[in-house]
Symmetry: C2
């Protein structure tokens, strides 16, 4: 869909990794469609994951007792967030689709990407009560979590030891994206690329390119407890 804007938030240390290939394929395929694609390569940017007083330029609203949520909300309104956060917010603002590309670390995203969520999606910018969930401030945007796992698909089946893979998607898809009003496309999961054959890995990359071809026709999931837990 020519003209659409995509932000890929990417967290892998190694360009030659399987995640690096997935990212590269997304840039190529979406660019080919005429989309404008921006990549936030978090490790290459040495993105700061820690939520600290440094995120607020100038004086604090209450310097007696530092409250990160309150201070960054106030700083957002004054235009006083740190530059790296403002830059990411601009990219989000412009994007129609956010793709999060990462290896699953401990049933979640790597800390560097969690820090992106913690610091970029501040109150006032991404949500502001009662503007959350379906009326979140980032409504009209789409998001997709695209990740690799260490464990096999069988290990993430319902009833298996890791539990249904959907269980661990709840905090990310519902608690973060849906909370901000973003509609969530079905996740793209590559199971255990480290432990499969070179041929199987190639098939996974082809499947990803194929999915991207018709991505804009997809309907978002129904991001409610039923999708995750039934």
């Amino acid at each position: 869909m020519a003209g659409r804007k995509v932000l890929i938030v990417y967290a892998h240390q190694e360009p030659r990794s399987f995640n690096g290939s997935l990212k590269r394929i997304a840039v190529e395929e979406l660019s080919k469609q005429g989309c404008s694609v921006t990549v936030s390569d978090l490790y290459a940017m040495q993105f700061e994951p820690r939520a600290t007083r440094n995120d607020v330029v100038g004086c604090l609203h209450n310097s007696e007792e530092f409250n990160y949520g309150l201070e960054t909300w106030e700083a957002y309104k004054r235009g006083d967030l740190s530059n790296d956060v403002i830059e990411e917010q601009k990219k989000v603002e412009e994007a129609d689709l956010l793709i999060f590309q990462f290896p699953l670390y401990w049933f979640s995203m790597p800390a560097i990407m969690k820090g992106w969520m913690d610091r970029v999606l501040v109150q006032g910018f991404a949500h502001e009560f009662p503007n959350c969930y379906d009326s979140g401030l980032l409504k009209n945007k789409l998001a997709m979590f695209s990740f690799t796992t260490g464990g096999s698909e069988e290990m993430y089946a319902k009833g298996s030891i890791n539990g249904d893979i959907r269980y661990l998607l709840w905090p990310m898809q519902h608690g973060i994206m849906h909370f901000c009003g973003v509609k969530v496309l079905a996740p793209h999961i590559c199971f255990a690329p480290e432990y499969v054959s070179e041929e199987k890995r190639k098939e996974m990359l082809i499947a990803w390119a194929q999915r991207l071809k018709t991505l804009w026709k997809e309907e978002p999931i129904n991001c409610s407890p039923e999708w995750y837990f039934q």
Copy 2:
């Protein structure tokens, strides 16, 4: 229980915060019982959350394609992890009980604490297939997640918009602690301390001190899908 060792992994920027009070109370109460208490004050330590090549001292096992999980596993075996990681592993090794004290950020822990999980609990130290879950390498230890929320208890009830609070505990309690063999005590949750009266806040602090008095008599939860999703 005199002689028991406790590690409190603490993630709040502000000592005067409610989380700061909860941490202080835990140190006081457990010390009074004769426990030896260590605190990892992550923001004060400026703990590094990013999983990078810097975590491996000296040469890489495979410098052609950096694989964090593989390299840190190898480095652990050689004793070549970075010093800050080794220090935290020593604290974990000595501890009978780990308490994680933090404000809930986006249905999860703050990035700085997620980075502690990502970097400290490396393969070889905390797990090593097939030694995971009930045979994880940190078995015989206990853990508890103690955290504050922005939303009220009603907002985290089953059927409400945030969903049952237990849904979001799955990745942290099961995916991390249980995976490493650690037995999980029921979480300690202080709902919305920012939005309740000073009196109610005091009650919450007293309740925490009370719980700590009989903590060592508690049975761990049954950390299986039923606890979370039924």
